[in-house]
Symmetry: C2
Subunit: 359 residues, 2 copies
Amino acid sequence: MSQQSSDRSEGDLRNTGMSLKHDREWDYELERIEEAVEERDAETVGLQFPEGLKRRGPAVADDIRELIDADVTVMLSGQPCYGACDLDTFLMKRSDVFVHFGHSPMKESEKIIYVPLFSNVDPFPIMEESLEELSAPTEDAADPDEPVDPDVGLVTTAQHMNRFDEMREWLEERGYSVHVRRGDERLTHEGQVLGCNYASADVDADQVLYVGGGKFHPLGLAMEHPEKTVVIADPVNNVVTLADTEQFLKQRYASVHKAMDAEKWGVIYCTKIGQGRWEQAEAILEDNDDAYLITMDEVTPDRLRNFAMDAFVNTGCPRITTDDGPQFHKPMLTPGEYEIAVGNEPLDSLSFDTFHGTW
Amino acid sequence: MSQQSSDRSEGDLRNTGMSLKHDREWDYELERIEEAVEERDAETVGLQFPEGLKRRGPAVADDIRELIDADVTVMLSGQPCYGACDLDTFLMKRSDVFVHFGHSPMKESEKIIYVPLFSNVDPFPIMEESLEELSAPTEDAADPDEPVDPDVGLVTTAQHMNRFDEMREWLEERGYSVHVRRGDERLTHEGQVLGCNYASADVDADQVLYVGGGKFHPLGLAMEHPEKTVVIADPVNNVVTLADTEQFLKQRYASVHKAMDAEKWGVIYCTKIGQGRWEQAEAILEDNDDAYLITMDEVTPDRLRNFAMDAFVNTGCPRITTDDGPQFHKPMLTPGEYEIAVGNEPLDSLSFDTFHGTW
């Protein structure tokens, strides 16, 4: 598409890689896309980027167009995208080759090429710092020459998954007994967590080391595993913290309390391919004559303002409820919180809403 | 669903009708919906309202639920909706009976019940006032006893379509020769205009009387038929005006001029069922190596801010371009305006972007 003045356009990573803030660079795996276009004799290629990377889309499209036949139509998804659960199904149907960037596969399909875009940040300096927060190896009282390897769970996000084996070895070399597991079918890799699924931290260790950026992933992790100490080693922002669920719980309980007087409930069913929980939505409707089912893809404050409900329960993406909840004009609860608000479950049953399965 | 304290809930129109500002009330045609649910042995009913009526949805759902079997699941579309071109295709697929309120059919289908929601506002007082702006019947110089019936075109919107025949007769009784026609297949009724289609005003008369609310419909009408005087009789706001395209044209030319220096063009293809013009989008891509195809359903400033383009050309709903254009961070043009900006067409070819056909 765009003919830029330099020989290589911004998204071109074939030789030099692309520098961003925090020294992140990504491999867009252009050859893999090129091969798929040729193999399938594709006439249309659809590209989908998550929000933070959308602005790179046109440059990546340029690079792909340089590699493939000029007759092939390259299309960019302009839909919001917040995960591998959030495929642009319209563009997917319209494309012979559909490339989803920035997430690991939630469900494999012949049509979809997932390009994970692994981070190139070195995780070990910040892991070194995080050791101060972990129980250190100790001597065995019975045999002082034999150290006791403390148990630690290790998890990370898709972005850093390419270094996961190295991370595990690095911890083992320092005397830790490292526990890892693959979560459920929603997760591609051993040790991987999503913003809505922490099943891979369900290991036999009282402490879990989370290597990754962001504050919401480890918060969900700590909420989902309240009996464990969650140490956060964030290699992007170069900081070590402990997950603290107190403020989060206060916010959630405040929403539940506000919703306790609600008469009319809006029950949101999300139509995004990987964010629908139909059975949960139906169960609430069957149980509550004052509940109204509302279907939508993007769940936004603007869209809900149209409905004169007293409270909402969101069966879609849990992160919208917990992270964006205060932006809605009425209390927005998870399905579990709804059960508390209407009196079906006790207050202390409040837990983090996680999402399992694919579609 | 909600059991309200009064016998009849807010949306119940079976006997009394519902009063709103401007004295508008609507017939939701509940019996027709009830019959369809029974005939089709439906398990799911989907309801879609345009933006201005969404807040009525839950009450209408209540009324429908009182009429049908309790096992039937009633669902409300939470997607934005701006016309019969904008069916919630997800909800439609998921519903045994799908009811689209507030617009006349763009395309009939066995599954869809269109409930037009005709206005009950009396159009004749404001039509009486509008006569001052129309050429009045005159005497024939050759035969002073014989008046000359002046030609006038008559158009209105779906909302007032139920009074169209009366309007025509009313004008004829006052000595006018009334010209009406059905537009193209995008339009259901004779004399009907849409915000994107004014083909029904293509009649043999120098003056057209538009009966209806809003300022954008008659503006599009005047732009599409620049050789005609367009008199606006607005029975909702009770005002008569003449459509004035000057300011509108200034705004459009300003956008075109701003876009003339653009190198990178974002070409928007709208994925809404009745708003896609694929051939137009493809033609631009083929003609311009610096054009990038972006697909989306809702075309909003937020979504486009993700793309570092110099200008956009919108092949979707023309009203987004003309009515919301200034809200976008870069110039947003219609396909015709794009041709001017890139030098393929002369400046004076600027015209209103209309939309034809269905899907």
